[in-house]
């Protein structure tokens, strides 16, 4: 399975991951190589099998809906790359 340059660029766009031209070519070759190693799974018949999402049989875990204090806003905003008073400052989403 050989990936094309366009496919690699498409995946990067889906992930919102910027890549240099050199990275695109490197990943094109490496990902093609890795995907080839996945072909082995085709040898297994899994038609009627249920998928396993995780390995312990816990489902629909609930806890009581109790109000508890949140972390102080100042503590959270201390890591903000850019802030404006008590808000995270971001770039315009709609222009």
């Amino acid at each position: 399975m050989k990936l094309s340059r366009e496919e690699v660029e498409h995946i990067a766009r889906l992930a919102r991951l910027g890549l240099s031209g050199a990275e695109i070519e490197k990943f094109r070759l490496q990902l093609s190589d890795i995907l080839e190693n996945f072909e082995i799974l085709k040898h297994l018949d899994t038609t009627d099998l249920p998928p396993t999402a995780q390995s312990i049989a816990l489902q629909n875990v609930f806890r009581p809906d109790e109000a508890k204090p949140s972390l102080p806003a100042e503590d959270i905003l201390a890591n903000a790359p850019q802030r404006d008073s008590d808000c995270f400052k971001i770039r315009a989403v709609l222009e």
Partner: protein, 486 residues
């Protein structure tokens, strides 16, 4: 008193309890050891000398009042992907290079509740993705048995810190072997508990259906003591198991009578290093001498599919988990543009290293329209088969024994440009995460002065049996008493 840092946890605890040494003395000894060896091995990314000594003073007060718990006053190091309030938590990534968490991970809360002493944070492969600690954005960690070789990964810093006695014990995390493989490469004890045994609240997420926290220690008894403290059900982690936590030290019985141990032949793979095979075969004979019933004809034929399943599932989950690093709420943020999408793309481009990008790409591909069924869903279905195969094996056996890794530690730089070769380093450990089982790596020999680890795999939530086997083997051998030439 200068070599207090050499003590295993059990002995350090005894001396503190009897007030023969103080936590300040023990902490000072570890810190000065750390300062002496850190230049050679680079195990730590953050050292909190002043805060650690403050914690030690407080621990000494508690000890004087007669309330010495097993971890009270004992210096520890924590892998840098577990949140520590007020202490940088970087995941050895540029993107979290300045991140200071506003809260503690549950495991860190547990240590603090015991009045443990936190010396600092250990180096790792960026976001725990790697098998050599070379993927750290800061610097590679070196193996103290041969500083030109890797310590394994991704918890390489934690394993090296224990091998060199920088701390009395350390915490690591294991998604596909990240505790056990470095433990094997550094000749220390490393346990990956059952999926769900320990809360991951505050552990920076890599692959949520596989990640687990566990101890790295000098002895098996130390491992049981740390596990006693960090194992718990936690309402803040809905995947933590609501089952009671036994006293794991009660499992330390030096007797293997009637225990049935299977040796799955598929783990003695082609391309496996001769010395590793010989050492593990010798160790298995030892287990037999000690009373275990060994079956060398155990078979797990699906083992060869595990690598593919893992490298679909883990990157897929990672690509979703790492979407949060958008440069808006915390972490590195590319500022030199007014375009929101460009800012996000550049933040990730300059914030993440090569392996993280590679896995985001791989995972995004496996989850993308048209490929989801062929890769992600297929892998999840094969996961059902792999777990079923282990369940079947455990109807016959109480535990399985394998090498931890097919080779001894490799040279720095040897595999960085060949991701498939690097991934193969975890071929014996990652099936265990896929099935969610507990497994421990313990020292089991050396080849030309380089460590070899033995992996013991148990039934879900039966950490006790693997601790018992590990303890019995350790009592009968002296591999764990050897120290690296550093």
């Amino acid at each position: 008193m200068d070599d207090l840092y050499k003590l295993p946890l059990t002995q350090a605890h005894q001396l503190l309890k009897e007030k023969k040494v103080s936590s300040v003395e023990l902490t000072t000894a570890c810190l000065s050891r750390l300062t002496r060896v850190e230049d050679k091995v680079h195990a730590c990314v953050t050292i909190c000398e002043d805060a650690a000594l403050e914690q030690a003073k407080k621990a000494d007060k508690v000890i004087r009042s007669g309330e010495t718990k097993p971890l009270t006053g004992i210096p520890a190091l924590i892998k840098d992907n577990m949140c520590t309030k007020g202490i940088k938590t970087t995941c050895s990534s540029k993107i979290l290079g300045n991140f200071v968490p506003p809260y503690d991970a549950t495991v860190v809360e547990k240590l603090k509740a015991e009045k443990a002493v936190i010396l600092g944070k250990t180096n790792m492969d960026e976001f725990a993705m790697g098998s050599s600690t070379e993927n750290s954005a800061f610097f590679p960690t070196r193996n103290p048995w041969d500083v030109d070789r890797v310590p394994g990964g991704s918890s390489g810093g934690s394993a090296v810190a224990i091998a060199t006695d920088e701390a009395i014990y350390a915490l690591g995390s294991d998604t596909g072997g990240s505790i056990r493989q470095p433990a094997g490469f550094c000749s220390v004890v490393g346990l990956k508990p059952t999926y769900g045994r320990i809360s991951r609240f505050g552990l920076v997420a890599f692959a949520s259906s596989l990640d687990q926290i566990g101890p790295l220690t000098k002895t098996v008894a130390d491992c049981a003591l740390v596990l006693n403290v960090i194992a718990s059900h936690d309402p803040r982690d809905s995947t933590s198991a609501p089952y009671p936590v036994p006293d794991y030290t009660k499992a330390l019985i030096p007797d293997l009578k009637k225990l049935r141990i299977g040796i799955p032949k598929e783990y003695f793979v082609e391309g496996m290093q001769k010395e590793v095979r010989t050492s593990i075969e010798t160790a298995i004979k030892k287990l037999e001498e000690l009373g275990a019933e060994i079956d060398c004809d155990a078979s797990l034929p699906l083992t060869k599919y595990a690598l593919a399943v893992y490298y679909i599932l883990a990157p897929s989950e990672a690509s979703a988990n790492l979407a949060r690093y958008d440069g808006v709420k915390y972490g590195f943020s590319y500022q030199d543009t007014n375009n929101m999408w460009e800012a996000m793309e550049k933040t990730k481009q300059f914030g993440f290293g090569a392996e993280v990008k590679r896995r985001i790409m791989l995972g995004t591909y496996a989850l993308s329209a048209g490929y989801y069924d062929a890769y992600y869903l297929k892998a999840q279905k094969v996961r059902t088969l792999i777990r079923g195969e282990f369940d079947q094996a455990f109807q016959k056996y109480d535990a399985l024994v394998t090498p931890t890794s097919p080779t001894v530690p490799f040279k720095l730089g040897e595999k960085v440009d060949d991701p498939m070769q690097m991934y193969l380093s975890d071929v014996c450990t990652l099936p265990i995460n896929i099935a969610g089982l507990p497994a421990i790596s313990i020292p089991a020999g050396f080849a030309d002065g380089l460590p070899i680890g033995m992996q013991i795999i148990g039934k879900p939530f039966d950490e006790e049996t693997i601790l018992r086997i590990a303890f019995t083997y350790e009592q009968a051998t002296d591999w764990h008493t050897r120290k690296p030439p550093i």
